[in-house]
Symmetry: C2
Subunit: 226 residues, 2 copies
Amino acid sequence: MNIAVFGTGTVGPAVAAALVALGHDVVIGTRDPEATLARTEAGPMGGVPFAQWHAEHPGIRLTTFADAAAGADLIVNATNGSGSLPALTAAGEENLAGKVIMDIANPLDFSQGFPPSLNPVNTDSLGEQLQRAFPAARVVKTLNTMNASVMVDPGSVAGGDHSVFVSGNDVDAKARVSGLLADLGHRDIIDLGDITTARGTEMLLPVWLRLWGALGNADFNFKIAR
Amino acid sequence: MNIAVFGTGTVGPAVAAALVALGHDVVIGTRDPEATLARTEAGPMGGVPFAQWHAEHPGIRLTTFADAAAGADLIVNATNGSGSLPALTAAGEENLAGKVIMDIANPLDFSQGFPPSLNPVNTDSLGEQLQRAFPAARVVKTLNTMNASVMVDPGSVAGGDHSVFVSGNDVDAKARVSGLLADLGHRDIIDLGDITTARGTEMLLPVWLRLWGALGNADFNFKIAR
């Protein structure tokens, strides 16, 4: 599949590399490729600067949001939450129409410091905002409830015995995303329903952040025991 | 221990009976005992009317919030979220001072129908509201992330292999509550930190409600796989 991954932070490159390993053709989309390659600061989690990561992954082309989306069958939104709507707008409505948008971002608001709050929250969600903004696209919320390393290597936590959620209005889009999740090694994929159920999974973030503090690391995930 | 359980819906009686089975002296507090005993409608989950349940549990006295709190070492808040502050206010600040309030309620707002939203949410929580309103009490948020039957019989789901959270400012109060949770059969008790962490566990409710729909029953619980 031709996949565009939006976002050059911790999550985007991790997901892009994992999808390449599964045999997909992957490009990374960013606002300004030259500016992204010029960044020299370490990643937010102490990772290498994007240019260094990119040099180590020469098969993954970096391009604009619009160019990446134009050639893609499926788009992974791994931008930060506040940048998601601008990124998809820059991609262009015509480049999103009919396509699956796998939205793995969270609308975290750090404006008041740590812990962040969510915006939107409770009666709306980022997933719903994206679906409303691009009604011809098929948004599926997933993977936003775990660390990037767990997204792409679920077996690294509890032998993979934990859960991942999908929310979306389009049954075929959810099936395609669920196929990708299974290929990544996710075994318990729970379809919560339409895109409004993304409110619930985005609202898992506050307890996720507190668990990170209480447990001292991010190597955990939610499992729905039943 | 002398324990007062506030609330005569599904949760309060279930918790009261379980605490009696553990050997505690338990009373149930309600706004108006005569009115509660006069109710003839079934419980919200199809349970028996309170008066019938009460007749089957003659050892558990029903009294006013204030009288119940006055004689208690620990108070379980199992009222509905919108009634929690009024219930504790009716109990009287002097009857709450120094005592542990085990807050197992959720601030669900059904005013716009199903699914409910939360109020407060995101930058505040019911647990924090109660602690602010009664600064001399020691509020511990817990058990609000699962069905009543799982609260009192954790072994009924996945052999008890799942998690429960505690949030509160007072270390001794959290230790006492954690002891009760262990006595009920909870094995993975995660201390998230101070009472502000109740925001995270209350914000689990939206996905809990959607899981209830997706799974078709409430016999599940969150486990933190790690």
